[in-house]
Symmetry: C2
Subunit: 248 residues, 2 copies
């Protein structure tokens, strides 16, 4: 990591529709903004999901008995809850009108990451990409020929946290960069071994990028510079094993 980091919004990317050439839209936005395409490109999940057609019309959804049961006390649309359940492998917590689930990918988040805001039309739910690492890999493959230097792609989503109000963006997929920077075994400033120091690089980058992607800003992509674009790996490698997880 250098001594400074920069995060620049890629402006002028329109609302994306299924099948749009997101690679071209991003490359053109960077060119228009005069930003060399190098560093870590952070793309919000919503445009990736829309481009991939991960949309469900609620009119086409028949809620299960479980969905009806969960929806009623929360005052939710049971069809929405049905979509959330179909996108999950288990319900982690429920209460206060919130359903915390573990998605098929293994992400623990509200409503399996299913979102209705900024959906292309009313009553359409936007689901997370089936494989966000693969989404990142495909974007990276498309952008590399146009890149001005080492490039990585991170797909981000906005997550809540236990114990703290306020949302922070996290990585749900990445390509061309190690998701975690493992400092274990290295020494601290006084030569003592650092016991547990694995830094979640892609999550830390996603958090700052999220400040430029506020939902009212219409900024679906941010270019981060100053980052060591090294290594590779899946965001899922960062997910804690159930046996090591104290908050199942």
């Amino acid at each position: 990591m250098s001594g400074s980091l920069g995060f620049a919004a890629l402006p002028g990317i329109p609302l994306v529709a299924p099948g749009d050439d997101l690679t071209a839209l991003i490359a053109e936005a960077a060119e228009t903004a005069g930003l060399p395409l190098a560093g870590v490109l952070l793309v919000c999940q919503k445009v990736v999901s829309k481009q991939e057609g991960r949309l469900v019309r609620l009119a086409d959804v028949t809620p299960s008995e479980q969905a009806r049961r969960l929806a009623e006390p929360a005052g939710k649309d049971p069809r929405q809850i049905e979509v959330v359940l179909q996108e999950s492998r288990r319900v982690v917590r429920q209460g206060h009108g919130v359903l915390i689930t573990e998605t098929h990918h293994g992400f623990v988040c509200a409503n399996s990451g299913v979102d209705l805001s900024n959906a292309p039309e009313d009553d359409v739910a936007v689901l997370l990409p089936v494989d966000p690492d693969d989404s990142a890999r495909r974007l990276l493959a498309g952008l590399r020929p146009r890149a001005a230097g080492p490039l990585a792609v991170v797909v981000t989503d906005t997550f809540g946290r236990p114990w703290r109000e306020g949302l922070v963006d996290q990585a749900i997929g990445c390509a061309g960069i190690a998701p975690i920077d493992d400092l274990r075994g290295q020494a601290d400033l006084r030569g003592r071994e650092l016991a547990v120091t694995t830094q979640a690089t892609v999550d830390s980058l996603a958090a700052a990028a999220g400040l430029l992607m506020r939902k009212d800003a219409g900024v679906p992509a941010v270019l981060a510079t100053g980052v060591d674009v090294v290594g590779d790996g899946s965001v899922r490698a960062m997910l804690r094993d159930p046996e090591g997880d104290l908050f199942r």
Copy 2:
């Protein structure tokens, strides 16, 4: 928020000792680096705690029966565990050699934020500041006369997260900036009301700053630019009420 954010390490701040003039050290580091003192100054907890003398010699600690009981299966020093317990209001989880506690401030983290790495000498534990918001306020008061523009201060610490490996820096204190940006009631891009959108600004800034503060880097302070330095408030206002907390 503007269309870009910058994060610059303030280099050359030495290992800090109790009573050092941290304000002067930071102002001089910024000047040496040619960085105008404006924006959000992020300072890692460790130097703040050391400056405030929040150090405990383990030789002076007599472990309680509870500390001995918790330390043994984890293979830890019971005096360390005693310090962790004294800094906590409750034990949230224990297992896998980790003790997750809620600090007197209300932060849920490993070992009450007590740290041995980069401590001034062996067998000295560094505790979190008694009131990190107050630490930030005092730093801000000292720095404002030297500031080149609107300035805020955020005290950060490195936290683990449930469900995900890898550490991310978070805010534990702030002054001169609203910790959360509340977008509730505003409309999304299609005019639909955003239901739950409160962005944890200071945590998002802390995360990116943490990438420049890696424990082996000797960078205890980072200056963030491009941020709207508006509002004010305590990081503790961001802590979820126990009644709304699904992960007690």
